[in-house]
Subunit: 215 residues, 4 copies
DNA sequence: TATGAATGAGCTTTCATTCAT
DNA sequence: CATGAATGAAAGCTCATTCAT
């Protein structure tokens, strides 16, 4: 009887744990290869479960992808809620949002990959999920309030469209991180080094700050 | 000298036409489904040629994708050369670049799709192409000159990094157009209507102009 | 004597009920899809029980099918016993048998489906059941007596083979009811309406009556 | 160089021959196991071709089954056309039809099996085939003429419904041949011996003749 | 007695690619 | 230069059945 005797216990019959394992494995596989390129068998192997179990817990590859998207969106929404932009000074709040967005994309490359894949498929899976549509982001509303407060105080220009601003913030970060492979190849530069990343974040903060600040 | 002596030239012309047909068909198919999702058979059908011809002219699916990428980059480089930013006033030149970028992305959704697909695959195909690496874009250098001229004249702030600026211009346009499916679904808005597109372009011009202009 | 002493009886009753539920569900599923097309999972769902229970009460899909066949044959044998052809006038007895056969097939389409499925599998399951082989139908003997009585009385032709007659009666009904889908499609007629069914029964009665009646 | 050197030629690149080989193999496999039980791989092996070829020539298992049904119906329709019942005396014509039906069923057990399978699936495949629906059998019309002629001559009873009669002829043969496995098991008799078959055909001829003949 | 979790084998179908002409 | 026929490998998915509780 060695102390390792308990090891097999890892493979429990715990439904929730297995489900989560499959979900995490799927997230990685879909992020690595996109929806079409992902292999159900590879997901099963990553999760250490039988292929059939994937069809037992989820209904198929499509539904599994929807579940992954839902989890991913739920994660980012939860993180957004903890930002509490209302509690910060307007300009600081915008910069906080930028930094958060940048760091979240950096820490969750799978999110970018999933979105790329999903956009290639006309957002068919996303549209299929009522849960995601209901998971309405409060960010636009919050950002609108921040902009209004900034304008009231005379710190920001009035009339800024919060949705356009949000898309710009996201785009400035997203494009750099998501396309760094082709950009790096074309420009012949290493874009993912610590210095390069810091430089980019500073640039984005600069661009956006100059855009919102009152003249 | 047989009567067929003239044939080779004709054949060559036909060959070229066929090659082009395959290339165009491949571009459409790859844009619609990404590299992994594209079907060689579908490309043959779109081009109206036999599947084997694809292997005759190109060597396989990978090489065909490289050829498509090369063509796509060649197209955008050619368009860029006609911009002649040097001939414009500095601020106008930047705005011209923005409008060009936006319109090119809008007119060539396959370019966005190909880039997305390529980034998902770590730019493996792009890196394989010596031709693309040699097709060095003069844009960064030109943009650097424009910025320098603008700074000299006191119309622009000095010290702006042309690469960061270029990536920002591209990102502000790219993200909106490439991700409009998911963004539209999440925001519940139609982002591709004429009005929405005009609004977005105006926003981008505004953001970038405020960034480069001297205070 | 614990308070649970009475439980076994209850359990037994429940057990029987569950067994019956499985059997009925299996009958329906096998009738709908044949042996090969039937799904054990679907049977469990129809019966509202856990899949494993099917393996507990029966041993597997094959054995379950045998049990269904046994039940089905037991039902028809029981119904046959209640006919009491001996009590009727010979000609009336034959007509009674025809009407009974027709109505039984009509009321129990699963019987036809099970037989079709079984014949497709060379009656392997049926042959495996000692119970069915022992459930010898008294019908042929009874019919032989009826024919003999009819002949004695001069109402029927002598020398009629009861087995051939029985197969003919069954076939005239079976083929119409079992194959009405293809027949209906080929003839472009609705064969299962009340009128059509009545017409067919009358026809069968006519055919058989003319066959047995003394000239 | 042995004389066998030419053998490989058997596997030609003749599309038509290959298509036919697949069709024949499919017919056998579907007849042996029904639609659901048939294995595409087994069909490919029987035909000696690659599995993918089946999808190349036909579109899938369903479409292949439809093609088999079409071929089977085309065969029986062709045989029916050669009967030329109009050329025979009325009573002889009916007996000719009976013998033909019996022999065709006997020689083509796959026809019975395919019909059984198809009826189990509500004739879904058959209904899908426009070709089969258009392959209207002339038999009913021909039989109607035969009955009319027989009635005119006073050899047959008037008022006999040709469709009912046809279904009866088919049913008397079909049921015996299609269900001989279960019937044989239940009656404990060998029903497919030469004697048994001859006896059955004689019985059917007897039954039908007595039905149509004028009293 | 009853259950949900888990499996291996095998199904139909798809794909990029090559062969024979 | 061009073609239709043919393939091996592997994909998503299903099935009857067993395991652990």
């Amino acid at each position: 009887m060695t102390p390792l005797a308990a090891a097999p216990e890892i493979r429990t019959r715990d439904a929730d744990r297995t489900r989560q394992a499959v979900l995490r494995a799927a997230m990685a596989e879909f992020a690595d290869h996109g929806f079409g390129g992902a292999r159900v068998e590879a997901i099963a192997e990553r999760a250490g479960v039988n292929k059939k179990l994937i069809y037992y817990y989820f209904d198929g590859k499509d539904e599994l992808f929807v579940a992954v998207l839902e989890q991913t969106y739920a994660d980012i929404r939860a993180a957004e809620r903890e930002l509490q932009l209302e509690a910060s000074e307007p300009l600081a709040a915008v910069q906080k949002l930028i930094t958060f967005t940048w760091n979240h994309y950096l820490a969750h490359p799978e999110f970018l990959a999933l979105l790329n894949s999903e956009n290639m498929h006309r957002a068919d899976h996303l549209r299929r999920s009522r849960r995601i549509r209901d998971m309405n982001s409060p960010l636009i509303d919050t950002l609108a309030q921040v902009l209004a407060r900034g304008a009231e105080r005379g710190e920001m220009r009035p009339g800024i469209d919060p949705m356009q601003l949000y898309i710009s913030i996201a785009g400035l970060a997203y494009f750099y991180l998501s396309n760094h492979h082709t950009l790096g190849a074309v420009f012949g530069r290493e874009l993912m080094s610590g210095d390069s990343l810091a430089e980019r974040l500073a640039h984005i903060l600069d661009v956006v700050t100059r855009y919102v600040r009152a003249a």
